[in-house]
Subunit: 735 residues, 2 copies
Amino acid sequence: MKPMTTLNEARFDPHCLNKYATLMAAGNGYLGIRATHEESYSQQNRGMYMAGLYHRAGERDVTELINLPDVVGMDLEIDGAIFSLLSGEILDWRRELSFSSGEVMRDVLWRAPNGRRYRITSRRFLSAAQKSLFAMRLSITPLHGAAQIKLTTGIDATQTNSGRQHLDEISLRVYDERYLQGVYRVQGSQIDVSIGCHCTVTHAVNRISAVNRKLLQHATAHVAQGETLCCEKICWIAGDPDHTHDGFEAQNLAALKTAADRGYEALLDESRQAMAPWWRQSRVELDCDDAQDQQALDFALYHLHAMTPAHDERASIAAKGLTGEGYKGHVFWDTEVFLLPFWPETARQLLRYRWHNLPGAQHKARRCGYQGALFPWESARTGEEETPEFAAINIRTGQRQRVASALAEHHLVADIAWAVMRYVDITGDEAFLQREGGELLYQTACFWISRTTEVDGHLEIHDVIGPDEYTEHVNNNAFTNYMALYNVANALKHGPAARLTADFKAKAADFIARLRLPQADSSHVVPQDDSFFSKPCIDLSRYQALAGKQTILQDYSRAEVNEMQILKQADVVMLFYLQPGLFTPDVQKASLAWYLPRTIHDSSLSKTIHGIVAARCNDPQTAYRFWREGSQIDLGDDPHSCDDGIHAAATGAIWLGVIEGFAGVSVEQGLCIAPRLPQGWRRLRFPLCYQGIRLTLELTPTHLTMTTSAPLTFRLYGQSVSFSGQGSWAYQDFI
Amino acid sequence: MKPMTTLNEARFDPHCLNKYATLMAAGNGYLGIRATHEESYSQQNRGMYMAGLYHRAGERDVTELINLPDVVGMDLEIDGAIFSLLSGEILDWRRELSFSSGEVMRDVLWRAPNGRRYRITSRRFLSAAQKSLFAMRLSITPLHGAAQIKLTTGIDATQTNSGRQHLDEISLRVYDERYLQGVYRVQGSQIDVSIGCHCTVTHAVNRISAVNRKLLQHATAHVAQGETLCCEKICWIAGDPDHTHDGFEAQNLAALKTAADRGYEALLDESRQAMAPWWRQSRVELDCDDAQDQQALDFALYHLHAMTPAHDERASIAAKGLTGEGYKGHVFWDTEVFLLPFWPETARQLLRYRWHNLPGAQHKARRCGYQGALFPWESARTGEEETPEFAAINIRTGQRQRVASALAEHHLVADIAWAVMRYVDITGDEAFLQREGGELLYQTACFWISRTTEVDGHLEIHDVIGPDEYTEHVNNNAFTNYMALYNVANALKHGPAARLTADFKAKAADFIARLRLPQADSSHVVPQDDSFFSKPCIDLSRYQALAGKQTILQDYSRAEVNEMQILKQADVVMLFYLQPGLFTPDVQKASLAWYLPRTIHDSSLSKTIHGIVAARCNDPQTAYRFWREGSQIDLGDDPHSCDDGIHAAATGAIWLGVIEGFAGVSVEQGLCIAPRLPQGWRRLRFPLCYQGIRLTLELTPTHLTMTTSAPLTFRLYGQSVSFSGQGSWAYQDFI
């Protein structure tokens, strides 16, 4: 395997505290811990999150992913000076996340305001081997005479989600004068979280305090010039969202003790070994001119691993993974469309999350006057709708604006059905299709059948929001209608036998026969909805230049934007992505060209999708430009691009763009491959799992080489190929 | 009047952020606002409190004074640099609190890390004329080329009490694109707080946002070299603890608009004019060698004004006033013993606070198996016991230690009775005595009568904690028994006629006759309790050198301390202070000398009381040493002396020490004066109010000069003197 890349923070910049806290965040699917510095900065938001651990703080608040008590913070006072990189001078600096091990390292040579120099180095990782284990090391070497050092660290439960507190302090204990344990209960529940830590500090005298939600160890040490004070902190963080704990505290204390006995290096080694096979089975390797492309892929896979709660099918992936509080840690359609394809084994479980939550979706459908299952636009642990009622304030009216997504962005229902079929097509998991998958298809289809309005003998779907959220409350959004059709057709085909009553079959057939399906116009452009073509168009270039920042809303109200041909993100183009065979290449090309100047890409879900569709339209250079821009949504220069968490979907899209765009992998009645590598990409190598078969693909600008764990038939540029073991094919023989 | 002193922060020191935030805090009895810097520092605790506004955040939490949303914070970004005094260089610095106006001013010449220089000046005050009004001004002058300035400020409701949130966001509104208003509801109640602000920024373009509990105005400005950007922020903060609001939001918005129209300077002038008569009627003026003594007195009076909720008799004075969250904003005996004497008009109301809370005290008495009223050791708005169950963690056992005060520190009951009599003696308010006072005396007396244990024909009071909290669960604490006697005797004398049944009278007489009253031993020392003399004694000098920090608890457990002759604070000496006529001067001198080496003064209630008793024992130099040390409890060099709020009682004691100690004012069957000025004090001048008569006293080392608003008879060194208008007396004629 090619050497893994790293992510480096080139210099200390107070504007970038939260960007790098997100980019370098640790995660193992169970916990996510933001990569905040040990010392505090007022602009720096600390965060530790546990997958699926949500709570609503107050009557008027929204359920959110709980920000747990902090263990990262360490207050340092060296020779009387409070250590802060804002003060004094940074003489040398290195900060790096190793994607392969997940270890974050910082090495600073600091000159204090009083002129004395110190080397301060820290390392930390969240274990891939033991989900509850987080470990840190900090060392301080005075270079300019002996130093008096005070180090304070422990468990800080003053953490909140922007001032909202979710946890009651249940018990604070110190065992053997050195194991600190705090147990915190989610307010109004029986769910406890135990946070323990053990901290050894060489040279030090220790004191412990428990005041104002902080359980702290205060170490004081005298360190000679050139000697190194070492602090090793081992933390054990465990929760039980379903409350089954007996001996919860004792169990976690014992685990902490065992881990602390082993020490940082041994624990890191264990974690690294646990990660190695994952990387071998997942890595996408790239030889190309720009090293950033390989870095973007390593970054994406690192975070895909970090965000995925493989251990718990009652949890799913939040829009910001486990890296921040954006979107309150809620789950959107992003998971089904952008994240499922990556990892078939986990996809099943993420679909079971939806299946578990069918009651909530059925309840919402009833409440809104529909049948079947209307999944919530935003969901947390239960299937309840969690979308906040209000968003930003409208300074003209003085009032906060309502969020319409929960009321009308119903395409999510069909997206879930699409994800079921995608999963089944890729894995061949018939057992899932017969049970959870079939039920999901059936319930979602029932929703769509009940969602129609009859107009002139046709069935129409009125008052929806498509993927483009700048166009609200329209009729016959093409994306929605075609996806609904796909949904109902697949329910009819794969729904559970007991559900496919004559009545349902008749209704489904009628739906399929009479649903209004927007057709391309004479210019081969598919209309986004009934009214879109009739709206005026303005020059969007200045807003496109600041894509992602929604600057248009500074100049126009949402109502005004709604009445123009302005797309926040791929809509018809998203439909092309999800159902590539639905329209001719001509229609796809023409529509892509027509919608592009009308699309701002204010959503992170937009650019890479355009890239994939452009690649399929045989325009790999446009595809590469979009992919590259998409890969820089978080990694790019904007210091606040991801303050409140990574864009999980955009991270998944980095992988999707390469696999589905440039390698041209798709599953349409079998595995299809149609490589179109962008210029400068000399070699692309990645593993795939298809119908239980392990494949390795290696693409060059001219050849595809593939190994398979079992005999395989696939199509290359549309031509069927069968092989076993290894094969190699020149593209020119197939085009 | 002599010119008023100021309080200056000599230099910017990150260790002292919270000390000066406390010392320079603004207060008007209704609101208290910590003097935090406009820009944020991670160690800096912002705080705004409303008298009497408490809440309990969680089941296992304690009721606490709510930390309200912040209005002080202003994030500044100048030419791309986040303004922080930790970075760059401070070329010039001045920060000052004017005691006379309450205005805090900071003037900084700052060189940014990029070398550019800026003058940044801020001023602010909380109005003495309009309790809800807080105003700020900030100006920035670029001295080194033009500057691009971003200023963000507004209402920040992410504030918590150490992570505990008490408020739900009810409504966020912007009126006329410039008046910001947030309404916050105390969780689980109907009590709302409205916070409004209006912020004008010269040169600026403004944007408003409402995200994550922050309602913010973002101003962006380009300022030429030498020009000054001015930001004027007017805030209106109103709450209604008793929820009587109709049109609450509209009313407060209207008040904000009116205030904003008038502008900073006019509002400051109005506030200054409102304060002027208060200072004229209250100021203690001093000519002496050390200017710090006058400053300590001005400081004390400034804070006595700031902390006293003169507008609301359902609120009292917290142990930290309105300056911080120490002791959770709870009310202790400090109020009755240290703060009441200062201000007779308000004393009545503070006693009515106890009278209103009699039901809670009666309930607690019943719950503990007693009769009458057992006031809670710590109270908030209701009369419920608010003492936290647990305090610091014991690292040997690993468990948090229980707080025993609520269970056994019962002397508070008699202290309240003492305060009733003190108030009546000073004011002659018979109406109060007949109603609230009499009832308080009666109910507290009933408690004591039920609190006894019969031993050998005597009545004893067992298992109490006296003022000295290092000696727990003792029998016949001298302070408690003598104060209980005083309590019952005065109830018998002044209780409401209807309450003084034959049964009560008999019981009270029996209590008085048979109560065990510890007597001085052959060395004239009064024993603190039954067992105190039998305990071993150790050398406490190293702990005394760090008085106030409770360092002894680092070497000994509380249980160990309890079994030695170790006093946290004045106990028998406190009894001498409260009842000076109870023991002969010989006993007082001998006891004072005996207890001194055994007293650490780990409580802020200790030193000044020793000073007053020493003064009465004719040792003005020892008295001065104690007074001086007491006056430096908050003002002294310790950078963390008052991080979580001023010591309100110690502040009151600065005044008490001068009036009762050095001027020797007391009320014992009439007004008594016995001056004993310390060396170096050339002139002491102060007003007093006695029985409705306005007095001005001026003391020199040799003479007393007094003016009176009505004919007055008083005793000077025990000799009766009558006069009217003005009189002057040489001490030598009376000694």
